[in-house]
Each structure stands twice: as C-alpha cells, then as structure tokens.
Amino acid sequence: MYEQIKGLKELPTDEPLSPGHRLCPGCGASVVVRQVLLAAPKDTIVANATGCLEVSTALFPYSAWNRPWIHSAFENAAAVASGIESGLKALERRGEAKQHPIVVFGGDGGTYDIGFQALSGAMERGHRFLYVCYDNEAYMNTGIQRSGGTPMGAWTTTTQVGSARGGKVEAKKDLISIVVAHRVPYAATASISHWKDLMTKVRKALSKDGPTFLHVMAPCTRGWRFDSAKTIRMARLAVETRFFPLYEVEDGMYRLTFPVPSPKPVEEYLKLQGRYSHLFLPQNLSELETIKNGVTNNYRRLEKLSQITAQTLAPEAQPTVAR
C-alpha cells in the first residue's frame, strides 16, 4: 500500500539533493529528483546514468546527494540497479544488510537510446526498482543533440534548421508503450508542474513488487530555448495542451490521471520555445499541422485505451513480472 500526498506540509523537510550543485538555473531535472526523492522513503538507494544530472551533482570531491548514490556508465543504470537489488537480497539472507527501495534516474538519451537494452533486460528479469526517465528531449549534456526522445519538428544541433530541412523529421518514440509491453506492474507519465500527481505515482510505483517506470517531462531551458524562469510553466503547458498527457498503466489498466477535456492550443506550448520557432514560418505550416494532429490522436488513443482496458481487464487478469 502507499500513502497519497495531499499537501506540501506532509513532505519531509530533509533535502535529498542539496543546493549548490551545478545544474543550470531553471533546470527541470533537479526538480524531478527532489519531487521523486521527497516522495520516496529516506532509505532509498539511487543509481544514476551518465548525463547532465550526474555530472552536475557529483563533481569530485563534492556531492549534492544525501542518499547512497552510484553512477557507473551511460547505458547501464538499470543493470547496475539489478545488481544492487540482487546484492542486497543475497546479503539480507545472511543478515549482513537489508533491502532498500532503489530509484534509477536516466535522461532520455540514457533511457530511450543507449540504455534501452539494459532497461529492457532488467524489466524482463523483474528486479524491484523504480526507473525514472527525466526527459529533456535531447542529449543536453553533450550539447543538445537529437535522441529517440526528441519530438518531431524540434531543432537540435544534429537536426538543424536550414533551407533543405527543418528540425527532427522522425516522431518521438512511444516509451511508455514499450515499457508496458514488458508487463511491468506500473508505468506512468508525470510532470513537475503536477507535483501531487507525480509524488503519488512515485509512492504507488515503489509499493509494487517488481520493476516500475516513471516518464517525467523535464524542461531544459538551454536546449528548448526558453526563459529559465518559466520551467514549471513549460511543464504545465505540455500537460494542458495535451502535448504530454498524464496517465498511468497499472497492471495493464490505462487511466488518465489528469484529464484535459478542453486543451489549450498546442501553439501556446510550442511558441514559447526557440527550438520550434521555424514551425511558425509560412512554409512549415503543414509540419505544424502534422504535430498538432499527432497530439490529438495520441490523447484519443489514451482515452480509448483507458475505456477498453477498464472494460476488458480486471486488475488481476493481466499477468505482470512482479515476483
């Protein structure tokens, strides 16, 4: 079981991630970490993939982490977590250690792309951990290169805007669908603008005996080209325009946790970001239309999935890899 969070006063006062780290002002990733770890028990162990978050919070001899924390490489955070889980299990049997909740943080590059195999393997093996993908939609740490998580149309340093083509041509990978295909007991999207929703999802995920997954939008002021004071606003607009719907998949059952019956125009979200500015030129209007249709269709798909799975799946009907 897990406890739902109702108000700010319920949050612990200890800081899992100390101030003084080197993340950019207005960085979404640090907010993701704080919200996740404030919702998680204090004895949580953290594994971190290489990326902005890792390089900016653990510059030897300093560390911002008030939790046991390990970084090994870019593509292996989920594999490292499966080792931690197995090590603690074996040691617990000997009475030499106890098991603890394990939270993994990986960026979109470390999750959608290079770390995907390790994540898939660890989920299939059923290790108990919560994997949090903080998605800033490009390789921000190396200088804003496109990833499998970069949305269609976005400018990056490897999807440049020129006379021959403009921004990323391909669609963003549907990460949650791939995760759900592993039949994990819990997967959800979350946004730092909807912190109660996010924290409840963290607690729900950690209550499951098996691999769980949280896909959190982490706006990047440098890569998306927006005012660093507007990070939370960007995250909120992504939800309110249906660009990034908030939903969960629990034992196969889809549910929109923050339905958006009357969405704001997608342009409101896109226009605030320099990476999309070319979409508003007259010659790119059809591309803008494609993006908007994609947003509408995705939301409809989720509504349908919620209806279908509610009708056809009792919670216990869907086998999961929980052990």
Partner: protein, 394 residues
C-alpha cells in the same frame, strides 16, 4: 605437511571447476551471459541454483555489458561477486572493465580465452584478454584444470584484500582447458570459507551512511585515482605471495607468480603463459634428455607483472624465446615479448630475444612444435627484429 582438510578427487572440465569453486566460495551474486566456450560455467551454476546448492543470486542478464554492470551494482552493496565470459563478450564488457577497476570493486571473472572476430572463430588464443590488458584488472593465466579451481578461490582472497581492492580475471584457454576433463583434488567447503572470510569493504551503498560512488573527476583529480590503482597493483604483487602461502597451508598446492623449469642452467629459456606451458616443459624435458640445455619460464601472474621474479630466472641464459598466443598487429612482437624485452632492457641485460607468435585462433601447439621452436632459437632473432609467426600456412 598436515593439511587442514581432506580432499575429494573429481574429474572436471575447466568450466566445471570454476563453477564448483564459485559455489564453494560462497559467492553472493553471479551475473553472467552465455558465450562459447564459457557456457558450461553458467549452466553448471544454474544447475546448482535449481538444486538449491548455490545460496547466492544468479542474475541471467541480457548482455555481457549488463553482466559486468550488475556486478558493479552488486559489489557496491558489499556482496561477493562473480562473472564469466569469453572473446566477444569480454570485448563487449570493455568499457565496464575500466569502470569496475576504477571504482575498486573486487569482482572476480573467469575468462575462457577465445580469439576475436572477424573472422568468427570459437577457439582459443589470448587476444581477448590482451586487448583489455591495461584495464586495471589483476590477470592470472592457468595451465590446467586443478589450477583453474585453485586460482578461482585464491583470486577472491586477493581481490577482496583491503590493501588491493582490484578486480581479477582468471584466464584459461577455451576448449583446451574449458572443456578438457582432468583430475582435480577438490577441497572441503568449510576451510575454503574460513580461508576467504566474508568481504568487508570499507565503503558500500548504505542508507545509514550515504556515500557517492562514481563521481566525475577533472584533470586536477583524475590522475591521482589512476596513481592509486597503480599503487594497489604493486601491492597486489606482495599480497599474491601471501595468498599463495596461505592457500598452500590449506591445500598443499602452490604455483608461484612464475613457474620455472631448468632456468638456472639453460642456455635457451622459453617464456610462455597459459596451457602450452606444460606442453613446452615436456618438449624441454625431452630435449634435455637428449643432451640439450633448455628451460621454460611460465608466467602465471601477468598483471601485476612480476618483473623481478622473471628477471631473476633469465639472468644466466643466452637466448630468451618469448611465446605470444596473441598478435599486436603492427607492433614488433606480441605483448609478452614486448614486456620481456622492456624488462631485460630496463635491467641492462642484453640477451638475444626470439619472439614467437603461436596458436592463434586455436591452432594446435604440440610437444614437437616446442622442440622445433627450441631448435630455431639456436640461431634466433635479435632484439627488435620482429616475430616469427610459428605454424602459419603458406
């Protein structure tokens, strides 16, 4: 000598001997991915798991990269950790080899040596481990199945020593040793476990005392991390001797960092590692019985390199024959030859050195081959004159 225990005789393949030792060593986590010719190790361990004879966690990962990554995570909890691989698998782990040693995790790995693709081949040479030679792992080459068994036990002790805290790779040639069934004198479990004790790492992932593992360094700090590893490697040379001494009390068996045959009198000494060491000793014995005077120096501990021990055996001979079961393409000779030449030069010993490459991709190396090579060394190449590719066709 009165031994601490009785022994049990068994006929085991090299891979089986590793698995048996791992079971007896009370390992907490095994994370491994199957690759020929290492597979018997993981199959045997899975059998132990199924029979309830292995008390640890067996993590059947989806790749070698994840195998070593899971070992890193498990080792960070303070657990005793083991993995095994070969060839392409070791190459796939390459990044993580440096990571594991840089984070000072005392992981033990069995490497059933196999040549690298392309072209793909399943048989033995040392180019897999030699390609990862500088990765900061202790590297031992075994010569027979009983040594494989003994070294597996020894390496947990050596790696986990607080003065060392470096991972170890136990090398033995694929098929030649991994699948070869030999007589092994198995030791009892209890004395092995008291010989090893439990791992007691100073640092571990512990919520009561949160620590940061795997921080990022700068040019101001990185060098010192590497210097500390280098120091630990030097210390490992001494600790290796202690471990061997203590293991001898347990088993009555001692191998040394090098194994010397007739090196004090020989005019030609062959320096070699791996399974062919025994074959070459047989060749040398046959030649000496016919009135020649040759010796064999088998390198057992390759990293850290026991340079003083090696030089002490080479001081009196005229010719050194270096034997490499791997090719450093574009170099003058193989890695062992380069090591030996640099050791000789550093000590001011001007010897005739004949560098030989042999057994690549599993090409056989028999007693007659050894005799031929000793014969060729009567003439021999000089320092820096390249290598003989022994046994290559055409």
């Amino acid at each position: 000598m009165t031994l601490a225990q009785t022994v049990r005789i068994a006929a085991l393949q090299g891979d089986e001997a590793v698995a048996e030792a791992v079971r007896q060593c009370d390992v907490d986590v095994v994370a491994a991915y199957p690759i020929t010719p290492q597979t018997i190790i993981v199959e045997k361990l899975a059998e132990f798991v199924a029979d309830g004879r292995f008390g640890g966690e067996f993590v059947p990962v989806e790749s070698e990269h994840s195998a070593l990554s899971a070992c890193v995570g498990a080792s960070a909890t303070g657990a005793r950790v083991f993995t095994a691989t070969s060839s392409q698998g070791l190459a796939y782990m390459h990044e993580m080899l440096y990571n594991a040693s840089g984070m000072r995790f005392p992981i033990v790995m069995a490497v059933a040596n196999r040549a690298l693709s392309a072209p793909l081949v399943l048989n033995a040479d040392h180019s897999d481990m030699m390609g990862s030679r500088d990765c900061g792992w202790i590297q031992v080459y075994a010569e027979n199945v009983e040594e494989i068994y003994d070294r597996t036990i020894q390496l947990f002790k050596l790696s986990e020593d607080p003065r060392v805290m470096l991972p170890s790779a136990l090398n033995f040639e694929g098929f030649i040793l991994s699948h070869d069934k030999e007589r092994v004198r198995l030791l009892d479990e209890a004395p092995i476990r008291s010989f090893l004790g439990r791992p007691r790492p100073k640092y571990r992932l512990d919520p009561d005392a949160p620590l940061t593992f795997g921080a990022i360094a700068t040019p101001d700090t990185y060098y010192e991390f590497r210097a500390q590893q280098s120091e630990a490697m030097r210390t490992a040379l001494d600790v290796f001797e202690e471990v061997e001494r203590d293991f001898e009390r347990l088993s009555g068996r001692r191998y040394g960092a090098v194994d010397a045959y007739n090196t004090d009198k020989a005019d030609r000494i062959m320096v070699i590692n791996g399974s062919a060491g025994g074959t070459m000793r047989a060749a040398a014995r046959a030649l000496n019985a016919a009135g020649e005077n040759v010796g064999v120096l088998a390198i057992k501990l390759y990293r850290p390199f026991p340079v003083d021990k090696i030089l002490s055996h080479l001081s009196d001979c005229k010719t050194v024959i270096t034997m490499d079961r791997s090719i450093s393409l574009g170099a003058q000779s193989g890695p062992i030859s380069e090591d030996i030449k640099s050791a000789l030069l550093g000590a001011g010993m001007n010897k005739r050195v004949m560098s030989v490459i042999y057994g690549i991709g599993g090409r056989d190396m028999l007693i007659d081959d050894g005799k031929k090579i000793f014969g060729m060394a009567k003439e021999g190449l000089q320092f820096g004159q390249g290598s003989i590719m022994y046994g290559v066709k055409g």
